[in-house]
């Protein structure tokens, strides 16, 4: 993220900052003055945020974004669940597809220019298992590779390479990523440590959501449990920041009632507005595994799937409106994903089975509005084996967001996603078009291991700092396999170097993992030709 340097460099010395604070315009002498620094800090709060909405279970994308241009093939493939053409919600200036009738919220967003619909997102050789497909989407791997880290975690590891040693700090006082829910997901798993924090995690932060927390019984076990919980609530490094951020927002635009996705997004909006510098938020909404009775038998526009889509649509609409209300609309974009779409042909239980590619949504004021791609081709006589082929690799979406929203360089993109992917024009990249010199995130925290050059062709020098005692450096490939162990012995405290010669190893990403007592830190390294 180069935004901070961009702002610093763009302020000429002794210029009048065109900002008014409490009614007074402020004269800034140079960018290093304490006053300017103080002003910078609120400014840096405009850094970009990505909200990932996971729709668990495999969403039936074909009933969400309905192909009007091939309507009869669509209808014939799934007569028992198909949406009547007359009920499809139209999109302004786009007649080839429309939305499920329950998605009036997203229809408005589209018409307001705050929605991009990306058609048929998937990947080669799709997997139909919930678990494996979810892991593929979250890890950002191909379907033939098993990768144990998440794409978001790898991004955050390149952005904040020293995390968690020396965190939180003044550059990054907040969690790098926040998962609303109990469990930090694979998406936020870095090459070595998890980069995310789940804010209903009982060890960290309580009850922003109505998370289940067993009451402490009224006996001595309960007394001791309460004691530990109290310590836990006081000791989380981020609890106060998060609580203060959440509490600083006293008014929000309304959210739909009884909508758990809306409740989660409402928290996200509060935390963003409240000043957290957190980069990535993840929320989850489940129930999309609609093998049977996904529609009402007599009216296909209502039923289970319609309710799910309505909640998704209402929640996202409310969130985007709330961002506007809170004045953070230029900082936040979001994306939806589901581990797979469903089969073109419906089954006889009024549902659809596991499928392949499906559309996804990008939302927010800074997304490039419109429909990316074309309606999927649907055969005239669809068989049970027919699936929607992918037009866009899901990693192209990740790559485009990282490049255009988080200003990630090309070589770093390759480090995160292991190869190059198509760049899609899906969000405003104005902030990334200036070049910064120093990225403070890179040196925040305590740097224990680095390498140079990086990227490298044959060899690279690894520099590491040990606090003494047994010290280990392992070279690990993108699949998590240990390739070599250049350092594995006792050291006295100090800084040392070791050479890593990659020899015949293929080009790609390698991680240098330092382990020193209870400490570990990982440096990604890219081998190129």
């Amino acid at each position: 993220m180069k935004r901070r340097t961009f702002l610093k460099n763009s302020v000429p010395a002794a210029a009048i900052l065109p900002a008014v604070v409490d009614g007074y315009s402020i004269k800034a002498f140079n960018s290093n003055s304490p006053l300017m620094q103080a002003l910078m800090d609120p400014v840096i709060d405009t850094d970009h945020v990505l909200v990932i909405v996971q729709l668990s279970g495999g969403n039936d994308g074909l009933n969400m974004v309905i192909p009007i241009s091939t309507y009869s093939n669509y209808y014939n493939a799934r007569t028992n669940v198909a949406i009547a053409q007359s009920s499809i919600l139209p999109l302004t200036n786009y007649s080839l597809s429309g939305l499920h009738p329950a998605m009036t919220g997203l229809q408005s967003l589209y018409n307001e220019g705050k929605l991009n619909i990306v058609q048929a997102v998937g990947y080669p050789a799709p997997n139909f298992s919930h678990f494996r497909a979810t892991d593929i989407w979250m890890s950002g791997s191909s379907s033939t590779d098993v990768v144990n880290s998440g794409w978001g975690g790898r991004y955050l590891n390149t952005e904040y390479p020293n995390f968690p040693i020396g965190y939180p700090n003044s550059t990054m006082p907040d969690p790098l990523a926040v998962q609303i829910g109990s469990i930090t997901s694979l998406t936020l798993q870095g090459p070595s440590v998890n980069m995310g924090m789940s804010i209903t995690n009982p060890t960290s932060f309580y009850n922003l959501l109505n998370n289940v927390l067993d009451p402490a019984p009224n006996n001595q076990m309960g007394d001791e449990l309460t004691y530990v919980r109290t310590v836990a609530s006081q000791t989380n490094l981020y609890a106060t920041r998060i609580k203060n951020a959440a509490n600083s927002v006293t008014a929000q635009n309304p959210y739909p009632p009884n909508n758990s996705l809306g409740e989660q997004l409402k928290i996200v909006a509060r935390l963003v507005k409240g000043g957290l510098k957190t980069r990535i938020y993840m929320v989850n909404y489940s129930g999309f595994d609609t093998h049977s009775l996904q529609v009402n038998a007599t009216d296909t526009t209502i039923g289970t799937h319609a309710n799910l889509l309505k909640n998704v649509s209402d929640a996202i609409k409310a969130f985007v409106d709330d961002c506007q209300y809170l004045g953070v609309q230029d900082r936040v974009i979001g994306m939806t994903f589901s581990e797979f779409g469903r089969r073109i042909k419906s089954n006889s239980s009024g549902g659809t089975d596991h499928g392949a590619a499906a559309p996804l949504f990008l939302f927010g004021k800074q997304v490039i509005p419109g429909v990316t791609g074309t309606n999927p081709a649907i055969p005239v006589n669809t068989t049970v084996n027919d699936n929607i082929p992918f037009q866009y690799d899901f990693r192209s979406i990740y790559a485009s967001i990282l490049e255009k929203w988080f200003c990630v360089s090309t070589s770093t993109l390759q480090t995160i996603l292991f190869q190059n992917f198509q760049s899609l024009n899906i969000c405003n990249d104005a902030a990334c078009r200036t070049t910064g010199i120093n990225d403070p995130n890179q040196v925040a925290g305590e740097e224990l291991i680095t390498n140079s050059p990086n990227p490298f062709t044959a060899g690279t020098k690894i520099k590491f700092r040990t606090k003494g005692g047994h010290t280990l450096i392992q070279i690990i490939d993108m699949l998590g396999r240990v390739i070599s162990t250049p350092v594995d012995r006792e050291f006295t405290a100090g800084t040392y170097t070791t050479d890593f010669e990659s020899g015949p190893l293929p080009n790609g990403v390698y991680y240098a993992r330092l382990q020193n007592g209870p400490i570990q830190q990982v440096r990604p390294m890219l081998k190129v030709r």
Binding site: Q54, S56, G57, S129, H130, F131, R132, T134, D135, V146, N148, G181, S182, I183, L186, S192, V193, N201, P202, T203, Y206, N207, V212, L213, D214, P215, A216, N219, Q220, M221, D223, E224, L225, T226, Y227, V228, R229, T230, V231, A232, S233, Q234, T235, N236, L237, N284, S286, G287, D289, H470, L472, Q474, T485, D488, R489, R513, Q515, G517, P518, Q520
Partner: protein, 547 residues
């Protein structure tokens, strides 16, 4: 509890309420209730380091009496002694034990002290199905010796061996042995205590910490300390042979009269070799006070049951246990047998209320999950390296084994009113989580060897890991004492094991697919990743700190 109360509570507001709430009326009558996994687990969590599934299965086939008797009567041989695991030149070969070859060299002793502490971790990890190791740690806390004060590793090891050998024996004999033990003579300056220059250090702690304690009815005087110090004069250490001997010329041969607390007892001064017998006279006098038995029973109670002793517990438990202790002439075993077989021990009020000590947290975790260490015989250097890593964690969590903060032992066992709660604070709780996180995620790698919780292998030891509900229940039945609610278990199942799906069969299918082709990396990762998250989550909950 109201959430606001909960969040703002600095400390549980239970202490006033506690006084009003009479905890339980149960006493030491024999327990006759159910004998299920729950009760076995309770017994094992308190007497061993962790309740491994295999151990629960084993004791479930015994009666409660048989189980307690087995735990109190170890049959396994004493552990093999620590060895030379360091590279410094020593008269003993690498891999050979140094315990019979005392040296004066400072560097060697430092290496040997380190070897001893690593070895102790290994002994606890490899404990047998008996209370021996937990009780050894109890006595080490009771006598509170510090290796960095004693200095000489020879004395340290043999002091420690004395505790282990006598941990279930006779307390009066143990006190006698400890009094004239080289390690203790060094630790509390007994070897410098002579008729011309008395040193009261040991004489004071002997009464205040080792036998009578500081209970309300204890009333020995400063003069009693001085008199006791005189009695102990004459015990010396031969720095060439590293042995204890009696030096009659250094003994104060005057007669010593004690205070009214000791009924003005006069211990007649003796000369020559007989002077050593005054030590027995003193021990007999001190052990004639009921406070000794009460003090030790309270210490045992705090260690094995709960740290709060209210009036009911004092009357119904401590007093009768102390009576048993005295009646058996201070044999330890009958007291523990009565305690562990009592209705009070199994009282629901006394289950799950123990906050784990660092040793309990760390060693239990490694044992319950069956973490495999390098072979302590064929790969001893690697084993010692790993044990050292674990020892370092214990020290980070404030329980540096072999080196408690001072002669009082660890404050968690004596400091009113918080006691065990002192283990857990803003510094140590995140570190406890960091330890379990490390063990379940990356483990620790050293010299090409790795220690790590193998999540899949642990799941395989459970009766029905393909059923997510059974998997959760059976895991909790090993590692948890707090009964999680059905709602919480459902949430954990859905969010972790089912990846937000509703149907159990998704987990079942994933598990069965892995079992059918265990070498398939994708299948393995699906179950392994979710199991790791599942165990990590459970170990991060505050409930995991209860035992």
């Amino acid at each position: 509890m109201d959430r606001r109360d909960f969040l703002t509570a600095r400390k549980p507001k239970t202490i006033p309420a506690q006084a009003a709430r009479f905890r339980t009326y149960s006493g030491i009558n024999p327990y006759s209730g159910p004998w299920t996994r729950n009760e076995v687990q309770h017994l094992l969590k308190r007497t061993l380091f962790g309740s491994r599934k295999a151990d629960i299965d084993y004791f479930l086939t015994r009666t409660p009496d048989q189980a307690v008797d087995e735990l109190l009567n170890p049959t396994a041989p004493l552990p093999l002694p620590p060895v030379n695991d360091y590279t410094t030149v020593d008269t003993v070969a690498p891999g050979a034990t140094w315990i019979n070859t005392p040296v004066s060299d400072g560097t060697l002793n430092s290496n040997r002290r380190a070897s001893f502490k690593k070895w102790w971790v290994g002994v606890m990890l490899n404990q047998d199905r008996s209370i021996r190791e937990k009780l050894t740690l109890f006595w080490a806390d009771h006598f509170g010796t510090e290796t960095d004060t004693i200095g000489n590793a020879h004395y340290i090891y043999w002091h420690h061996a004395l505790l282990r050998q006598n941990c279930l024996g006779n307390f009066k004999q143990l006190i006698k042995n400890v009094t004239i033990d080289a390690g203790m003579l060094r630790y509390l300056n007994g070897y410098l205590n002579t008729n011309t220059a008395p040193d009261e250090n040991y004489a004071r702690e002997f009464q205040e910490l080792f036998t009578l304690g500081k209970g309300p009815s204890v009333a020995y005087t400063e003069d009693d300390v001085k008199k006791a110090a005189k009695i102990f004069t004459g015990w010396r250490i031969n720095g060439t042979t590293f042995t204890v001997f009696w030096d009659a010329s250094k003994h104060d041969t005057t007669s010593k009269q004690f205070s009214t607390y000791y009924n003005n007892t006069i211990i007649a001064g003796r000369t020559g070799a007989d002077g050593a017998l005054e030590t027995d006279d003193l021990i007999n006098m001190v052990f004639s006070k009921d406070e000794v038995s009460k003090y030790i029973c309270r210490s045992l109670y705090r260690w094995f049951v709960y740290y709060r002793i209210d009036a009911g517990t004092e009357t119904n438990v401590i007093a009768p246990l102390a009576q048993i202790f005295r009646a058996s002439n201070y044999d330890i075993k009958p007291v523990l047998a009565a305690l562990f077989k009592s209705e009070h021990f199994f009282d629901i009020q006394n289950q799950g209320c123990h906050l784990k000590s660092p040793v309990d947290h760390v060693i239990s975790c490694l044992r319950e999950f069956g973490v495999v260490f390098p072979n302590d015989n064929t790969e001893y250097a690697d084993a010692y390296g790993m044990w050292n890593y674990i020892r370092n964690w214990l020290a980070n969590l404030n329980q540096d084994i072999g080196d408690p903060p001072n002669v009082s032992g660890w404050p968690a066992y004596y400091q009113e009113p918080q006691f065990h709660e002192l283990w857990i604070n803003a510094d140590t709780l995140p570190k406890r989580n960091q330890f379990t996180d490390t063990m379940i995620t990356n483990g620790y790698t050293r010299n090409g060897k790795k220690i790590l919780i193998n999540a899949v292998e642990f799941a395989k030891t459970l009766p029905n890991p393909s059923d997510p509900n059974a998997l959760i229940d059976d895991t909790l039945a090993v590692i948890y004492r707090f009964p999680l609610s059905a709602t919480t278990k459902q949430q954990i199942k859905e969010q972790i094991l089912l990846s937000n799906q509703a149907q159990d069969y998704y987990w079942t299918n994933a598990w069965n697919a892995y079992i059918a082709s265990p070498t398939d990396t994708a299948n393995y990762n699906i179950v392994n990743g979710r199991l790791k998250l599942f165990f990590q989550y459970l170990m991060n909950l505050s409930e995991y700190q209860l035992s």
